[in-house]
C-alpha cells in the first residue's frame, strides 16, 4: 500500500513538473522574443542612423563641390529633395520604393537684388541644412547644418 501510494504521488508530480516547466518555458520564450525583437529594432535603427549620417554628409559634400555661387538657393518652402534606398542608391524616379528622404535647404543671408533665380551676394553666408527622414514613418533620423562662404572650405 505504501508503495502504491508513492507511485501515485510520483505520477502526479510528473504532470506538475511538466506544467511548471511549460510555464517557465513560455515565460522565458516571451522574454526572449521581446529581446530578439528589441535586437532587431536596434539593428534597424543602427543601420538607419548610419545610412542617414552618410546621406547627410554626402549631400553636404556634394553642395560644397558644386560651390558657393553655383549651388541654387533652396528655401524652406522649396527644399531640394532626393530619395534613397538602404544602399544609398538614388530612387528619385521611384520615391515610393525609397526608404530615406533627404531634404536640403540652402538659405543666404544676403542675395543679389532682383536676381532670378536667386543668387547669393558675394558677402553672403549660406546656411545649408540637410534633414534625412524615413519615408515610411516620416521620422527624422538626422539633421546636419553647415555654412558656405565665398572661396570657403
Amino acid at each position: 500500500m505504501k508503495n502504491g501510494f508513492s507511485g501515485r504521488r510520483r505520477s502526479g508530480l510528473s504532470y506538475v513538473e511538466v506544467l511548471v516547466a511549460s510555464a517557465i518555458c513560455v515565460l522565458c520564450m516571451s522574454i526572449m522574443i521581446q529581446l530578439w525583437s528589441f535586437s532587431v529594432l536596434l539593428t534597424v535603427q543602427t543601420t538607419d542612423n548610419a545610412v542617414a549620417c552618410d546621406l547627410a554628409r554626402q549631400t553636404v559634400e556634394a553642395l560644397k563641390e558644386t560651390g558657393f555661387t553655383q549651388t541654387p538657393e533652396a528655401p524652406t518652402s522649396a527644399p531640394l529633395v532626393h530619395y534613397f534606398d538602404i544602399g544609398t542608391h538614388n530612387l528619385d524616379s521611384t520615391p515610393t520604393a525609397a526608404r530615406y528622404k533627404v531634404a536640403t535647404t540652402v538659405v543666404s543671408d544676403y542675395t543679389i537684388p532682383a536676381s532670378n533665380p536667386v543668387l547669393p551676394a558675394g558677402n553672403a553666408l549660406r546656411t545649408v541644412t540637410t534633414t534625412v527622414t524615413l519615408v515610411s514613418t516620416g521620422v527624422t533620423l538626422t539633421t546636419l547644418t553647415t555654412y558656405l562662404s565665398r572661396e570657403g572650405i
Partner: protein, 417 residues
C-alpha cells in the same frame, strides 16, 4: 515492476532540468546578441558624432572667412590666455575659431595683420566630441592687370613729341601731354577724378578705371623683404662691398656714389639677390652705371626714407636683359624725396620704383635713354625723347582686399587618421 520504478525514478525532474539548461543557453546567446546590438548602436552613434564634428568645424572656418571678408578688423585673433579662440553657438553647431598670421617661414605670429596671409583654426563639436581643422587663407584683391611702362601716382607730364612708350601709361591723378608722344598701349586713369589736366594733342586709347591703384611704399616693400626694420636693416646689412669699385659703408662718403668723367660704377648681382644701400648717386660727364647681373638679381635701395638725396643716373645696361623681368632683374627703389634724374643716351635695363608718398618724388627723364623695364613714381616728367618699353613682373600693386578665401593646405589638427 522494480525496473519500471527505477526508470521512473531516474527520469523524475529531467524535463525541468532540460528546459532550464536550454533556456540558460538560449538566454546567454540572446544576451550576447543584444549586447552586440547595443554596442553596435553606440559605436555608430559615436561615429556619426565624430563625422558631424568635422562638418561643424568646417562651418566655423566659413563663418570666420565671411566675418573677416566683411570687416577684417573684427577677426577673432588668437588669445594669449584662456581659450585661444572665440566660441560661437550657431545653427551649424558650436565652434571655437581664431586666426593667426601665416608667414612664409612657417611662423604664426599674432595678431594677424589684415591683408596678410593667415591660418584659420576652428574646433567644432557634437555631443562632447570635438575635431579641429586648420585652413590656409589669403586675401583676394582687385589687382589691376594693366601692362604699365610708366605710372605717375599723382601726375604725369610728357613734353615733346618724340617720346615713345611701348606699353600702358597710368595715373591715379592727372596727365598733361604737351606735344604728341607715342603710347602704344592704353592711357589709363584710375579712381574718381583721374583725368587729363588739359586735352591731349593727339588721340589715345583711354581707359578709366573706377578704383585707384594702390602701390605699396618703398618702406613697405623693404619691411616685407627684410622684416620690421625695413630700410634700416639693409642700411646695416648690404652688399655694397660687391660693387666695383666697392662702395664704402662707413666714413664721410658712406653709401654714396660719385663718378665723373668716363668712369663706371658696376653693381654685381649674386644668387638670392644682392642688396645695395645708397644715400646718393651722381653720374657726371660721360660716367655711367653698369649692371652685372650674371650671377643673380640686383636691388638698389635709396634711403633713409623721406630724406633728401641726389640721384642723377646715366647708363644702366644690364648683362642679362629682362623680357619679361628675368630672375636676375635689376630693381631700383627710392624712398627719398628728391627728384630722380635719368640722363644719358644709353640703355637702362631696370625697374625704377619711386613711390613713398604722393606729395614728393618725381622721376625726370632727360636725354634719349632707352629704358627697358618699368618706371613707377609719385610723379614723372618726360623731357627729351626717351623710349620706355614695358616689361611685366617688376613691381606689383597692393590692390584692395575684396574678400578672404581658402587655399591649400588644409589640415586636421590632432586627427586620428
Amino acid at each position: 515492476m522494480t525496473f519500471f520504478r527505477l526508470q521512473f525514478q531516474k527520469r523524475r525532474g529531467a524535463i525541468l532540468l532540460h528546459v532550464l539548461i536550454f533556456l540558460v543557453i538560449i538566454s546567454i546567446l540572446l544576451a550576447g546578441m543584444a549586447q552586440l546590438m547595443v554596442s553596435d548602436y553606440s559605436i555608430v552613434k559615436v561615429e556619426n558624432d565624430y563625422s558631424n564634428s568635422l562638418v561643424v568645424a568646417e562651418a566655423g572656418i566659413n563663418y570666420e572667412l565671411r566675418k573677416i571678408s566683411t570687416n577684417s578688423a573684427t577677426a577673432d585673433q588668437k588669445q594669449g590666455t584662456g581659450p585661444a579662440g572665440t566660441s560661437y553657438t550657431t545653427a551649424a553647431g558650436t565652434f571655437q575659431v581664431y586666426v593667426t598670421q601665416r608667414n612664409p617661414d612657417g611662423t604664426e605670429p599674432t595678431p594677424w595683420v589684415p591683408g596678410k596671409n593667415l591660418w584659420i583654426y576652428s574646433t567644432g563639436g557634437v555631443n562632447n566630441l570635438t575635431r579641429s581643422v586648420k585652413v590656409a587663407a589669403v586675401a583676394y584683391t582687385n589687382t589691376p592687370t594693366a601692362n604699365y611702362a610708366v605710372f605717375g601716382v599723382s601726375e604725369g607730364l610728357m613734353n615733346g613729341s618724340a617720346t615713345t612708350v611701348n606699353g600702358d601709361v597710368g595715373t591715379n591723378g592727372f596727365f598733361n601731354f604737351n606735344g604728341h608722344p607715342t603710347v602704344t598701349g592704353n592711357v589709363t586713369f584710375n579712381g574718381a577724378g583721374s583725368n587729363w589736366q588739359s586735352p591731349p594733342n593727339g588721340s589715345y586709347t583711354v581707359v578709366h578705371n573706377a578704383n585707384a591703384v594702390n602701390w605699396p611704399t618703398v618702406e613697405t616693400i623693404a619691411v616685407n623683404t627684410f622684416g620690421a626694420q625695413g630700410l634700416s636693416y639693409v642700411a646695416a646689412h648690404n652688399d655694397n662691398a660687391l660693387a666695383s669699385p666697392a662702395i664704402p659703408t662707413t666714413g664721410q662718403n658712406a653709401n654714396m656714389v660719385l663718378i665723373n668723367g668716363n668712369g663706371n660704377q658696376t653693381f654685381a648681382g649674386k644668387a638670392g639677390g644682392a642688396n645695395y644701400y645708397l644715400t646718393s648717386l651722381t653720374c657726371n660727364g660721360n660716367s655711367k652705371i653698369v649692371f652685372d647681373n650674371t650671377n643673380g638679381p640686383i636691388n638698389i635701395w635709396f634711403g633713409p626714407s623721406g630724406t633728401s638725396s641726389t640721384f642723377v643716373f646715366n647708363g644702366g645696361a644690364a648683362a642679362v636683359k629682362s623680357t619679361p623681368a628675368s630672375p636676375n632683374a635689376v630693381r631700383i627703389y627710392l624712398a627719398t624725396t628728391n627728384d630722380v634724374i635719368l640722363n644719358g643716351n644709353s640703355e637702362l635695363d631696370a625697374g625704377v620704383y619711386n613711390i613713398n608718398n604722393a606729395a614728393t618724388g618725381r622721376v625726370i627723364f632727360n636725354g634719349t635713354p632707352n629704358i627697358i623695364g618699368a618706371v613707377f613714381s609719385n610723379k614723372f616728367t618726360f623731357n627729351g625723347n626717351p623710349t620706355v618699353s614695358a616689361v611685366q613682373g617688376y613691381f606689383s600693386p597692393t590692390g584692395s582686399v575684396l574678400y578672404y578665401g581658402c587655399v591649400p593646405p588644409w589640415f586636421e589638427v590632432g586627427g586620428v587618421n
